[in-house]
């Protein structure tokens, strides 16, 4: 009902009085009649206010990161046993005919929970008692593009809104002067990443993720050269007065008033964004903690640090994409680089959020569009061995934002091919993320082409045991 009210306000053609940006107004309207424990726009009490999605694009191997398979070491170089081969779904490139490939990385147990993590993630592993590892993710599409679409929008076609856009639409942003959904790309190799992963689909464009260059910040916040603050203020005053006269000539109009308000919001964003993105304000210690001083970690570390700053400012969704995990050959060196790039920044982000008391209201999710085969791709040998794509079974993890840490959900078979316990899909993960944000996947809807569309079009159930 709240949602409908929101839309009514946005769509009514002739609103009265001085409307602020509709989302701001909405927050007020909703705050008045919402129960104190339920966030504006939410359906039930949320366990998280913000989400940071650490999207490892290209897909890290589950057996090399968070799903150790001792049997794989024993059977290295052998054929996949029939008992397991028969259970692998008929997905192209499943690699069932190839030889098994033991992980080149060692695993060690961490924390009180004793959850094993590979040598790629030693620092992140220190926080394993806060993490919930989901080892039984699976879907059926072994291609990056549609796989990313499934992971981030729910279907492989790429025409539906991304989960971030749904959250941004459902909850709005707490940040008055920043976009509510921001996306950062790091280590981009090969073709451009999938736009649908942060697009608004059929939702209005205002809910789409804003692609931000971590070094430059929000686009268009630098004034043209030669302009001073005073110059800009004069321009805005001129624009504002003429716009008000324009409305005055033709009568009240919410859309025109929203446009007037957007100039003030833009002005504030222009003023505050550079501060938000100015990492020189962080202490040397913090900068080093995130690895800003090292070549391998500085890009992703910058994004992680920015993510924390954005969470502090109330930004709803942040997607940090780190590419380059597509280890078809030379998996060992590829994943070593990937671990090096991301381990320290992720550990720093989690610790930093934790020490600032933000982790409990910030849901952090890690995972790729699928996992990798337990077998060698093709017939490579030695260090050049790699793994092919495998959506049949893979791992993601969650932490913060109401997540019960130190637990493992689901399991794959002894080789890491297929879930044998609690199989879960990206749709289940989406339902879970929305749930944490206080959104009921069945109640958040947008009328598109005259149909009430919901975020999880192909089902999906909240993974209840994720939560404490």
């Amino acid at each position: 009902m709240l949602i409908h009210r929101r839309r009514m306000l946005q769509e009514s053609a002739l609103g009265f009085g001085s409307l602020a940006l509709t989302s701001m107004l909405l927050r007020d309207a909703q705050a008045n009649d919402a129960s104190p424990t339920v966030a504006p726009g939410a359906h039930h009490p949320a366990t998280a206010k913000s989400v940071i999605f650490l999207f490892m694009s290209g897909a890290p191997g589950q057996t090399d990161t968070f799903d150790p398979k001792p049997s794989l070491a024993k059977l290295d170089g052998q054929q996949v046993p029939d008992s397991i081969a028969a259970t692998v779904p008929n997905i192209p490139r499943s690699g069932v005919g190839s030889k098994l490939f033991a992980s080149p990385f060692s695993f060690r147990q961490y924390g009180e929970s004793g959850i094993p993590v590979s040598s790629l993630y030693p620092r992140t592993a220190e926080l394993v008692d806060d993490m919930c590892i989901v080892r039984s993710m699976n879907h059926r599409v072994p291609v990056h593009g549609p796989g990313e679409c499934i992971a981030l929008t729910g279907t492989g076609v790429g025409d539906r809104p991304s989960m971030g856009a749904w959250m941004n639409y459902g909850l709005g942003s707490e940040a008055q002067d920043l976009p509510g959904f921001m996306v950062f790309l790091s280590n981009v190799t090969g073709p451009p990443p999938q736009l649908p992963g942060w697009s608004a689909g059929f939702l209005p464009a205002q809910y789409q993720g804003t692609l931000v260059d971590g070094r430059k910040g929000v686009p268009y916040t630098d004034m043209p050269s030669g302009y001073t603050e005073t110059d800009r203020r004069r321009q805005l005053d001129f624009i504002s007065e003429l716009n008000h006269r324009h409305i005055g000539r033709q009568g009240p109009d919410s859309e025109l008033e929203a446009r007037i308000a957007s100039y003030e919001l833009g002005y504030r964003m222009q003023a505050s964004a550079p501060e938000t993105f100015d990492l020189s304000r962080e202490s040397q210690h913090t900068r080093e903690m995130y690895g800003l001083d090292q070549k391998e970690t500085s890009e992703f570390g910058t994004h992680c640090l920015l993510a924390r700053r954005l969470v502090e400012r109330g930004v709803r969704c942040i997607q940090l994409r780190n590419g380059g995990w597509d280890a078809h050959s030379g998996l060992e060196s590829n994943h070593l680089k990937g671990g090096k790039r991301t381990d320290q920044p992720i550990a720093a982000l989690l610790q930093d959020l934790k020490q600032r008391g933000l982790l409990e209201s910030t849901l952090v999710v890690w995972g790729g569009e699928f996992g990798r085969t337990p077998t060698i791709e093709g017939s490579r040998t030695g260090k050049s061995r790699g793994r092919d794509h495998s959506p049949a079974g893979y791992t993601m993890w969650l932490t913060g934002g109401g997540v019960r840490g130190g637990q493992i959900i689901g399991a794959t078979d002894e080789l890491g091919y297929v879930p044998i316990e609690r199989p879960l899909t990206p749709a289940d993960m989406h339902a879970t993320l929305l749930h944490a944000m206080g959104i009921d996947q069945h109640r958040l809807s947008w009328n598109h082409n005259n149909r009430d569309e919901i975020p999880t079009v192909f089902g999906g159930e909240v993974i209840q045991e994720v939560f404490a």
Binding site: A13, V143, V218, Y220, L242, D253, E255
Partner: protein, 1055 residues
Amino acid sequence: MKDSGITILLCVLMLAMAPCTGVCAGSDDVIALDVIDYPLGSLRRADAGIGWKNSWKTSRAAIPFIVPYPEEESPAQTNLGGLQSGLQSGLQSGPQSSDKNRGVTIKGTGARNNPMRRQLAEPLDQKEVYVRFDLHYRGPDEAESNSTKPTGVDPEFLVLWLDRLEGGDRSTHSANVPNIGVHLADRGPKKGRNVFMVRIGAANVAWSKVELKYNHTYQIVARLTKSGDGPRADYGRMDLWVDPHPGDLGSPDASISSAQSISQIQWIGFSTGLKTEASDQIVVRNLTLGNSFNGVLEDSLLPQADAPRGYKGIVWDKPVDFKHDVYPLLKSRCFDCHEGAKPESGYRLDVFREWLGYSSGEVFAEPRRSHHSRLIDIVAAESEDDRMPPAGDDPLSDTEIAMLAAWIDQGMKWDDELLPTPRRESDHWAFQPIDRPAIPRAADHDWVKTPVDAFINRAHRREGLEPAPEAARATLVRRLYLDLIGLPPTPTELDAALADTSPNAIDHLVEHLLDSPHYGERWGRYWLDLARWAESQGHQHDIVRPFAWRYRDYVINAFNKDKSYGRFLKEQLAGDELQPYSDENLIATGFLGAARISGNQEDVAIQRNDVLVDIVNATSSAILGLTMECAQCHNHKFDPVSQRDYYRLQAFFVRGQLGNLSLRDPDADHPVDLGNWIPTPAYDFYKKEVKTLVRKKLYTAMDTPHTWGFLSAATGDPEIKRLPVVNRKPIIWQPAALKEARGKILIRGDAGMPGQDVRPGWPEVLGKTPTSLDTKRRSELADWMADPDNPLVARVWVNRIWQYHFGSGIVPTASDFGVEGAEPTHPELLDWLASELINNGWSTKSIHRVIVLSNTYQQQRKFHVANASIDPSNRLLWNWPRRRLEAESIRDSVLVVTGELDRTVGGVSIPPEREEQALRRTIYLFQQRSSMPSVMEMFDAPEGIASCSRRSVSTVALQPLFMLNSQFMARRAAALANVVAKESGDDLQRQIEVAFRRTLSRGPDARERELAEKILLPDDASRHSGQDANKGASASRLTQFCHALLNLNEFVYIP
């Protein structure tokens, strides 16, 4: 063998459940058996037979299909009565006729393919193995003649292989692998003929003397014998018998030995090859592996009869009477939920054809096949969760289940009078014929300028609304310019329009604008939105389509020429078929070609289906105003559109494919410097992909001009050449297979679960598709659309025109004219406009005229308290609606104001990074789906993914930041300041005046001058310092002032 093998009905399920109790004597001889007699649609899911590990795996390249029962209605039997009586007469004439074609049909693809393969439960390594299967090679012309001998020899190929490994869809199981089948003999007495053979390895063949005859069912038996003892010895010898008798063991038709072979058999499958054409259809069945010759040969191994399916020991052997036995049971136990137009879960049981999967492809029962009946499985399910009636209701009694099974086995006789098949019809307004209404006699006839006003005035009167006064002339001129050509008038144009004081001044202006080449650039863009057009494949790699721009120009020209809308549709839907051929028609197929190519390169069936789905969705939404996409998986929940309708519409397109198509005009514009119009990163990637394809020999250079469009292998002009497409994996173009492609219902929308064949047709509720429809199928679809009797097409189009003029349509849901769509605010006006369109030869411009020359259109934007309380959202148009300019017009307007717009029409696109070198209209900026021009991303332009009928208008803070801070806008502000300074000399007031007029088509008032001065001369001291008071502002101040003007609401809204 002959008839028995073909006609026996087999109870495979029973065999599987209770292996060999009495039914199959000698079952010790059986190692594995599958009679290959599957219910529709479930080859990949059913796990029938004995001795197998899993169900069949099928090739994505060409999924074998189950011979449907009953066959899709033949032209003579399209109406339901015919279908049903045909079915029942088939029953009366005995099982032979109806079962003649049972089995699984394998089709060729003209390439190596393994359509079906299956794993044995246990690997075989015994000394001797016998294999038998039955084969029926339907020749290319079975339908037309009964000739059993091919005229000339068309080389054929089909083998059954036995291997240790499964291999993939395209693997050749020929290296030392035993094959049994048909091939063209390369030596011996039958050289050059298609004969049966066995081989171990492609070069090691024994040709029999038995020549293949088409349309004859053969029983093939082979024996594999190990050369030595023990599990590691190879199957080095094979013998072949064709149609043998039990005593023939000593006289095989062919034998072969090989030093090398396989030692173990685990997978068995069929292969087709280069010589197996798409028109070849091979029915296979009765695949048996056994321990003895007579064992596999005897049909007694196969279950002998379809014993009436008893249930828990109850056998119903009396005749079942539908009316007295079945109907009361269905009525009391099923129909509460599964009856009528909106049955639970979409399954209805009160219509006979629905039992056969008519609309959903899901079969509940087929006559005489209770063992395959999904319905019986469901009512007899052990678990409450799987059973119907659902938990809470008592299950059917065992006797009732036995009776239902018997009814099915006795032929499923139905009572048509009791439960007739309903006609699909609807009383929904949009599906009724267009009836040209009389023009109302308007109460305020002074107010009526065109008939449009009469309808609008009547609604105003009825609701007590008072229309706003006529807009000022200058406002109207600006409105017409922005609305009709998407560009504001220059001061000169404005002055010229205002100088015309004749009574027909506005008419002249409208004609002038409709004749402008810029009209097509404005209105063509709306069509490009509907066509989800862009210049790249979409998805992950989003590889560019370098020649997609031709379609953009085609659309612009079509609007400029006021091409008849009917013709416009026909060219776009069937341009490759139309004769006489023209390049223009072919370029028009860019509408179909605009489908994205799915990123799922690993699964060609899904990729192919995604393209077809894209085409059907765009076509139905843009042209018919129907949201059909949900019928992809299930019958439409609200509209009388079935899943069958969806796939019937899809069937129009299944024989075609997207591609780069050759043009013929020797004078056609043929630019080849791709880097000139493709954005650099996209072009670099394109070049890299080309190199890869060249290396894989999948790409050769093109030297003729071409376009991006759609070509049918069956009905397209045969002279059209399809040139290489640069894509990660080239999309499949197999003309032979495409020519034979048939529409199929996909069960629950799953590309891996093809169900019944369907013929092309439009939604049943919109009228009967003629049965003669065949040759130029898409042309006939287009003809049907442009038929004056089509209730939707004209209404949908005039409604769109209305929406593009006023911001909202007479039917606000412009792409949903279905039952759940919004009601028209002025239904008679809609019908009047639709009939006006048809009467004027489908002239779009004729509709513009009656709209823009109306008083309705020429009202002011003016708030009115009383009106607002009656009609707050202005649906009845009591004043000019608020309308923001679209992204393109915002950028284009800026360029007009600064005087920088390059007005060249058409041609290759401009990469956004080079826009400053050619400041052309936004429609010419390169449209790569993943990287649209920033102004378009910023201001709600669609991404070219799905047909977009109406753009949203969002207001976010990044928009002002773009308008105030982007380099593009900073440069424009400077350019405008420059032009203003030149025109006004060093005179401040003149500068303000000129800048206002250029930007807003009006001069400033006193207060606005004052406000302008605050920017231009911020320092009070200098302003009043005497002789400099009227000196012009500095260049930078003037730039800032111009920049501010470009940010006004008044600038980006149509006045």
